[in-house]
Assembly symmetry: C2
Homo-oligomer: 424 residues x 2
C-alpha cells in the first residue's frame, strides 16, 4: 500500500486505444491497493501541432498566449483518460495545472515550479479517486497559465511526488530504462537497474534523452526515487535514486555522446585579464550556448589559445562574431571544425578510482582516434573527437570498461520485488 | 466612448484568416475609443470533433470530463485571437471562463451562470487591454470546469455585458440580423432594425436560430441591448432591446416555423382529474419534450380527446408509451401524424389589436391549408399544419401582414448612427 505518482508520455497516450491501456495499467496499481496520481502528457504530436497553429497565426506568437494555446493538449488527455477509468468502474478526476495547485514563475514557455498546493489532490485521493493531473503546465502568481518547456511533464510528476511525499515516482515512456549507452549504436548496451541522481544528471545533460534534466534535479533535491520503465512492455526498468553502497562498486556507469557539436579556436589571444569575458559576453548576448572551454598556451609568451564548443547550428554565426572580436582585441586567426562529436564516460566510482582517464585515452588511441579537447568533472570525462568516429568510440569505451557485464550480484533484482525495493 | 461586449461565433473564427479579420474588427472598435470585451466560440466544428473524441473513448462519457475536454475549443480561439491582436500593436489578454470569474451551477454540459466576478476583466480593461473571454464555459463552486450547452457563448457575452454594465452587447454571427421570416424560404423577408426581447424570445424558441434563447432572457432581465449583425458583411443588423414606442405601431413582427414536429392524439380519454398527469408524466420521465397540448371534447359525454406535439424523432417512442398508458387508463385509440409543421406569427402589437388571429386563419384558409391545432400566447399565434404546406403558409402570412414593408419611418436608421442609437 504505497502512494505512487505515475507519468505517461505522449507516445503512451497517442490515441484512444493507448489511453485505454494506460487506464488499465493505472487501475492495476489501484487494485493492488496503491493510491495513484497520474500525470499525462499531450497526445504525441499535439503539442507540435498547437505550436504550429500559433506560428501560423503569428511569426512570433505572444508567449503568454502560446502557453494558453499549448496547455489544451494535456487537458484533452486527462479528460479522455478519466472517461476510460470511469467506464471500468473506478472513480477518477482530472485536474488542470491550476486545479492541481501547481504554482510556477511567469517565464512563459519555460516556467519553473515554485510550489504545489496539494490540498485538492490529497482530498481526491482520500475519497479513493485516481487523480489525473495535466503535465507540463501550471499557473503563475497572477493566475496566468504557464508551461514548463519540453519534457516538463516529467518535472510535474516528480514535483508532485515530492509535494505529496509519494513513495516513488514512476515514469513510463517509450524507452524501457537507462542503458549503459545508446542501444541503437551498440547492441551490447545493458539496461541499468539502478543509477544515482548525479550520474543521471550527467547522462541527461550529455544526451541520453530518457528523463528531463530538471525532473532529475527535483528528484535529487527532494529524495524522490524515480523509476523509469516502458509503458508498452512489462519489463523491469531503471531506478534513479540516491547513491548507495552497491553503486560505489561501479567505476563507470555509462558512455554517452553528443553529435552536432562544433569547435571554434582563436589563436594568439593577448594573455591579459578580461580577455575571456570579452570573447564570451557577445556570444551569451547572441543566445549562443557555449559548452566546453579550454584555454592553453599558444607557444608565444604572453599569448594564449582559446578553444570552445557550440551547437553545430550556431557554428557560422559564432565564427562571424568571434572573428570581429578577434580583430578588436588584437588576437590572431579564428578557425574551427563543425564535424566533431563529444563522447563521455560517466560514473560515481571515478572519484575513488585512479587511471580511469588514462584507460579512456588509451582505448581511443588504440583505434587511432585523435582527441581534440578534453574536459573533466568529478564523475565525468568528455573528449571531443572527429564525428565520423563517434559510434566506434562509443563501442570501444563500452568494451574497455566492460559495461556489458553486470558488475554486481546485488544488482540482480527480480522483477516481482522491484516495487517493494523502491518503497522508502 | 462606450463599453462594448462583442461575441463572434464558430464560423466567424473558423480558421486563421477569419480570426485575423475578427481581430481587425475588434481593433477598429478599440480605435474608435471603445473599451472592448470579446467573447469567442470554438472554431466551427471543433466542439463537435471534441464531443466525437469523447464518444470514441466512452459510449457515455462522464459529463464532468466531457466538459473538461470540450472547453479546450474556446481556449484555442481566444489564444489565437490575442496573438493576432498583439501582432497589430494592440494589447490583449485571453481569459478562460475561470479566469474571467464566470461562476456556474454544476450541471455539466448545460450549466447556468450564477454570477460573474468582474474584477479581473475590469482591471485588464483599465490597463487599456482588449479582453478575450472563452465563451460557453465557467466553473462551478468547487472549481470544476463546466459548459453552458449549445449556443452558450451568446449567453456568456450577454451575461458579461450585464455584469460589467456594458453599453451594449454585439453578437456577430453568420446571419446578418433578425428577419421577418426565414429568407431562404421567402425572398421578400425583411431585416428588422429593432425587435423587443419578448418577441425575440418567441422567435428564438420557435425556430429562428439567430440568438440563443437564454441569452435573450439574460438581456431582458438585465436590460442589455443586444445588437445582432454579420461578422462577414458591414451591413446594419438588428437591435434586440426593450419595448419602445416605435415597436407598438407594429402588429406582427415576424413569421416563424418549425418543421420536424409530430402530433399525437388520444381519443376517448375518461374526463376525470389526473388524466393529463397520467399521460404526460411518463413522457417527461422518458425525456420527451411535449410542446403544444390541446384538450377538446370528443363528442361523447364524460370523454375527452387530447392532442399534443413532440419532436419528430420522438414520434415512434411517444406512440408506444402513450398506447400503453391508454390501455391502462381505459382510453381509446392512439393515432398521430409525423408529417406536420408549426407556423407562427409573433408580435407585441397583438395585445392591443383585434382580428389578428382571424386574419391568420383566413389567409391560410384561402390557400386551402387545413389547421390541425391552434395555440396562442399574448404575443404569438401558432398553427399546426400539414408539413408540405410550410413554405406556402410562411409566404402567405408574410404577405397578409405586409411584413415586407417597413411599417415605420422612424425605423429608417442610417448605418453610421447605429452605434450611438444603441448607447443607453
Amino acid at each position: 500500500m504505497a502512494l505512487i505518482v505515475q507519468k505517461y508520455g505522449g507516445t503512451s497516450v497517442a490515441d484512444i486505444e493507448r489511453i485505454r491501456s494506460v487506464a488499465e495499467r493505472v487501475i492495476r496499481a489501484k487494485r493492488e491497493g496503491h493510491d495513484v496520481v497520474v500525470v499525462l502528457s499531450a497526445r504525441a504530436g499535439d503539442t507540435d501541432r498547437l505550436i504550429q497553429l500559433g506560428r501560423e497565426m503569428s511569426p512570433n506568437p505572444d508567449p503568454r498566449e502560446l502557453d494558453m494555446l499549448v496547455s489544451t493538449g494535456e487537458q484533452i488527455t486527462i479528460a479522455l483518460f478519466c472517461m476510460a477509468v470511469k467506464d471500468r468502474g473506478y472513480d477518477a478526476i482530472s485536474m488542470t495545472g491550476y486545479q492541481a495547485g501547481i504554482l510556477t514563475d511567469d517565464h512563459y514557455g519555460n516556467a519553473r515550479i515554485s510550489s504545489i498546493n496539494t490540498e485538492a489532490i490529497m482530498n481526491h485521493l482520500k475519497r479513493g479517486r485516481i487523480v489525473a493531473v495535466a503535465g507540463f503546465q501550471g499557473v503563475d502568481p497572477e493566475g496566468n497559465i504557464t508551461t514548463l518547456g519540453r519534457g516538463g511533464s516529467d518535472t510535474t510528476a516528480v514535483a508532485i511526488a515530492a509535494a505529496i511525499k509519494a513513495d516513488r515516482c514512476e515514469i513510463y515512456t517509450d524507452v524501457d530504462g537507462v542503458y549503459t549507452t545508446d542501444p541503437s549504436i551498440y547492441k551490447k548496451a545493458r539496461k541499468l537497474k539502478k543509477i544515482s541522481y548525479e550520474e543521471m544528471l550527467e547522462m541527461a545533460s550529455l544526451g541520453a534523452k530518457v528523463l528531463h534534466f530538471r525532473s532529475v534535479e527535483f528528484g535529487m533535491k527532494y529524495g524522490v526515487p524515480i523509476y523509469v520503465a516502458s509503458s508498452f512492455k512489462d519489463v523491469p526498468g531503471t531506478l534513479v535514486t540516491k547513491e548507495d553502497e552497491d553503486m560505489e562498486r561501479v567505476v563507470v556507469s555509462g558512455v554517452t555522446y553528443t553529435k552536432n557539436v562544433a569547435r571554434v579556436t582563436i589563436n594568439d589571444v593577448p594573455d591579459v585579464p578580461g580577455m575571456a569575458a570579452a570573447i564570451f559576453r557577445p556570444l551569451a548576448d547572441a543566445g549562443i550556448n557555449v559548452d566546453m572551454i579550454i584555454q592553453g598556451s599558444s607557444g608565444i609568451p604572453g599569448r594564449a589559445s582559446i578553444s570552445f564548443t557550440v551547437p553545430e547550428d550556431k557554428y557560422n554565426e559564432t565564427i562571424e562574431i568571434v572573428q570581429s572580436i578577434s580583430n578588436k582585441i588584437g588576437a590572431g586567426k579564428v578557425h574551427g571544425d563543425n564535424q566533431i562529436s563529444k563522447v563521455s564516460i560517466v560514473g560515481l566510482g571515478m572519484r575513488s578510482h585512479c587511471g580511469v582517464a588514462e584507460k579512456m585515452f588509451s582505448a581511443l588511441a588504440a583505434q587511432n582516434i585523435n582527441i581534440q579537447m578534453i574536459s573533466t568533472s568529478e564523475i565525468k570525462i568528455s573528449c571531443v573527437i572527429d564525428s565520423k568516429y563517434t559510434e566506434l568510440a562509443v563501442r570501444v569505451l563500452h568494451d574497455a570498461f566492460e559495461l556489458d557485464k553486470d558488475p554486481n550480484g546485488v544488482f540482480q533484482v527480480k522483477e516481482e520485488i522491484l516495487p517493494k525495493e523502491v518503497v522508502r
